[in-house]
């Protein structure tokens, strides 16, 4: 079976789907068009269509970027138990985690691109081609590790799918080193992203040593939260079998990560409020409002409440094994980290600005539309890759290959697990 047949059968799987599948793809494409039109508008008139201004120069786009780097990094929550501890229930689904990482990284790169004032000069960020300010710019490092992580995951996923399609075991000497290397790379993407913020002495809200550890802890909650919900959807809509043991183990790991996340947040809050220096004003803007400006206050308390509730739900074994409370916990974690690592991280650092001026930022419809479109791209990539990967994982792919070519293909990738 050559690459051409692989592509042909993949296309067949992509085109075969029920009404729900086509409605879902149609919705995503519609969102992409709606946001794409908004982006064209932004290209024509400039970033003035956003509500970002000199006082708040990074906002919605960069907040989403930060959150999604965390989602991408969270693939290691599956990779470590699967490939280091050889734990079978998770190894069966580790591929889905890598697919999620690919989708998330693509979304990250898109969010950075739409935030750029001169997207026509993006090629300066390509190593060797443009004038990348390496190694002194942390942003250059970030672009480098993000692309490295993307390439790593694409190579791993394509190799696993191709071997699974042929019914043979994947190449140990290729996959194992790459997977092991992807673990520090995943930690790296989030650490370097945190360093972009933490390295700025001008912004005391970010200039904190525990920012990178906080990023990692929240990433190991939010990414798996999305994964658990996607796993359950896939379990109902496809023939894939995901063992409950895998889901429970991931939920347990999330409880530890959420504890560390809340603990580090508390440490940060204590340090700022007890020492009560001038730098407190940013945290005050987030949690209490400053001079009547209270736009973020409800969101701030929402993320604390959601995070605490989710932590309790995941801590108690009975509630993390119950389908209803498990999913409720996942939604709460998603909400909590999305607020905390998105707007809650970026906006307070700029409000009030370095000269004390307060500019209250809320995203415009253009920003929301473009953000929606980028999420739609990510979901579409995930959907299409799953559409190919799941038949391979369940052995349907090999069956299809047998009927089209008439030779006996062994069953799929499940054997090697």
């Amino acid at each position: 079976m050559g690459p051409m047949q692989f592509l042909r059968i993949s296309a067949q799987f992509l085109l075969r789907g029920g009404r729900t599948y086509w409605a879902w793809v149609g919705l995503l494409v519609a969102l992409m068009i709606w946001g794409g039109v908004a982006y064209l508008d932004q290209l024509r008139t400039g970033l003035i269509v956003t509500n970002m201004r000199d006082q708040v120069s990074w906002a919605f786009y960069i907040g989403n970027f930060t959150f999604l780097v965390g989602v991408a990094a969270a693939a290691v929550v599956l990779v470590i138990p699967a490939y280091i501890y050889q734990w079978k229930p998770i190894k069966e689904v580790a591929l889905l985690g890598e697919i999620l990482a690919i989708s998330a990284i693509v979304m990250c790169l898109l969010f950075v691109t739409v935030d750029m004032g001169r997207p026509d000069r993006f090629w300066h960020l390509i190593p060797g081609v443009g004038r990348m300010n390496f190694p002194s710019s942390v942003l250059a490092w970030d672009v480098l590790v993000l692309n490295l992580y993307l390439v790593l995951n694409v190579v791993i996923v394509v190799h696993l799918l191709y071997c699974g399609m042929q019914g043979r075991h994947y190449n140990q000497s290729l996959v194992v080193p790459l997977v092991l290397f992807s673990i520090p790379a995943a930690v790296g993407i989030h650490t370097v992203t945190a360093f972009i913020y933490a390295g700025l002495a001008a912004r005391p809200y970010w200039n904190s040593a525990i920012l990178a550890p906080r990023f990692l802890c929240s990433a190991f909650c939010s990414g798996p939260a999305i994964m658990l919900i996607l796993f359950q959807i896939l379990q109902r809509t496809t023939r894939i079998a995901i063992r409950d043991a895998a889901i429970w183990k991931i939920a347990e790991l999330m409880a530890y990560a959420m504890f560390l996340n809340l603990f580090l947040l508390g440490a940060e809050i204590f340090k700022e409020y007890y020492s009560a220096t001038e730098h407190l004003v940013h945290l005050q803007y987030l949690f209490a409002g400053v001079e009547g400006h209270r736009a973020l206050v409800p969101y701030a308390w929402a993320f604390v409440a959601c995070g605490t509730m989710a932590f309790l739900l995941f801590l108690i074994p009975a509630t993390r094994r119950n389908v209803v409370t498990l999913n409720l916990g996942c939604l709460l974690i998603y909400t909590s980290v999305y607020i905390e690592k998105g707007m809650g991280l970026v906006i307070p650092a700029f409000t009030p600005d370095t000269l004390g001026e307060i500019y209250e930022y809320t995203p415009t419809l253009h920003e929301l539309r473009i953000g929606n479109a980028i999420f739609a791209v990510g979901f579409l990539i995930f959907t299409l890759l799953c559409k190919i990967a799941i038949p391979i994982m369940t052995g349907e792919f090999a069956a299809a290959a047998t009927t089209t070519r008439g030779f006996a293909a062994p069953t799929g990738r499940k054997e090697e697990a």
């Binding site: 201004r53 006082q55 000069r121 960020l125 443009g130 004038r131």
Partner: protein, 185 residues
């Protein structure tokens, strides 16, 4: 006649305007000359022989080779890093009407720049290069602002820094700003 026409046509092209707007980076001259630099110099010399359109053609080549343009990508990292709010982003295209523009411009100073890039105060380089004070110094009704050459020990500004009580904002960040505040008494 035909040469003038070609020149006029090229000058109206978008990429030519782009090149004229973006000053070239001359840092390569400080390093050991590379093959590309030598080729560029030969071609530049050649362009003097055949006249203006060759320069335009070379500029097109420069766009293709993507070399002499400044790499301002509009990521706004420098704005997040600035402790003084000194940097400003062109959120939209500059909208000052032509009749209100100062025709006395400098390539590194007060010319209108494209949208999507960050800029900052240039201390009115178009005035200071001509031996005049920046506009804010000249217009100040009480003479509170001073401007001068820090490298010249005899200048007014050096004397002020020597003799007055002076401080800078956020000195603890060690950005060593050259914008000083002094007590008049």
């Amino acid at each position: 006649m035909i040469r003038k026409k070609i020149a006029k046509y090229l000058a109206g092209r978008k990429y030519i305007i782009e090149i004229l707007e973006n000053p070239t980076d001359l840092s390569e001259f400080k390093e050991r000359p590379t093959t590309r630099l030598i080729t560029g110099l030969i071609l530049m010399g050649f362009s003097y022989v055949i006249g203006w359109p060759a320069v335009a053609a070379l500029s097109v080549l420069a766009v293709w080779c993507r070399e002499p343009l400044l790499a301002v990508i509009g990521c706004r990292c420098c704005m997040a890093a600035c402790p003084y709010g000194a940097r400003h982003f062109n959120w939209s295209a500059p909208g000052l009407p032509a009749e209100e523009l100062n025709p006395d411009m400098h390539v590194l100073g007060n010319r209108p720049r494209p949208r999507g890039v960050v800029e900052k105060c240039t201390f009115c380089i178009q005035r200071t290069r001509a031996g005049r004070y920046p506009a804010c110094v000249e217009i100040c009704p009480v003479g509170a602002r001073k401007f001068g050459n820090l490298l010249d020990p005899e200048s007014e500004i050096s004397r002020i820094l020597r003799e007055k009580r002076v401080f800078v904002l956020k000195a603890e960040l060690k950005t060593e700003p050259k914008f000083f505040y002094f007590f008049g008494v």
